[in-house]
Symmetry: C2
Subunit: 88 residues, 2 copies
DNA sequence: CGGGCTTACGGTGTGCGTAAATATC
DNA sequence: GATATTTACGCACACCGTAAGCCCG
């Protein structure tokens, strides 16, 4: 698992669509699809229900989303603080 | 920034040595060194003081360590919960 | 049928390891 | 002078984009 997977995952969850998420991330839809699939394989569960028109989080997906969001936030905060300190 | 950078960073902070951290991570010391450097470049601050024998966290490094640890923990927890749910 | 996700397939950037250089004690 | 980190260099793998395939409304 890499942060890229989390960023992609969050984008799809937010957009409820692979197509829109791919556009927002400036990557192609196939790349996004493959990476989400890799994440799902690693975690051993589907994270999204692909329902033709709308993509929605599975139960596992919602659980993951909750924690992933916190983790990403934590890292953004970490980077921000380091840049503020800027102390050698 | 990718999770790999965080894992490497945590390992060096823990071992207080690039050599030992590289062994623990099963990667070569040069690879580890390069990745830490990349992280430092991205954050705009040195995270470690290289003092010949001992490697120690800078002030920026300590700040980053605090948050990075929480983020990594959060992700481990997320993965664990998803594997437990295992619901579609 | 049409929009959208997936699978297939090459190309390319980047992380990795080996080897050489530099620095600190 | 030895141990430890950094720099140099080539390679291999994995991400990416394009193109083709599939599926659901």
């Amino acid at each position: 698992m890499e942060l890229r997977h989390l960023r992609y995952f969050m984008a799809v969850a937010s957009a409820q669509s692979f197509t829109k998420a791919a556009a927002a991330l400036h990557v192609s839809q196939p790349s996004l699809s493959v990476q989400i699939r890799a994440l799902e394989d690693e975690l051993g569960s589907r994270l999204f229900d692909r329902l033709g028109r709308k993509v929605s989080l599975t139960q596992a997906g919602e659980v993951f989303h909750d924690h992933a969001e916190r983790a990403v936030r934590e890292l953004e905060r970490a980077a921000q603080l380091v840049r503020e300190v800027h102390g050698a």
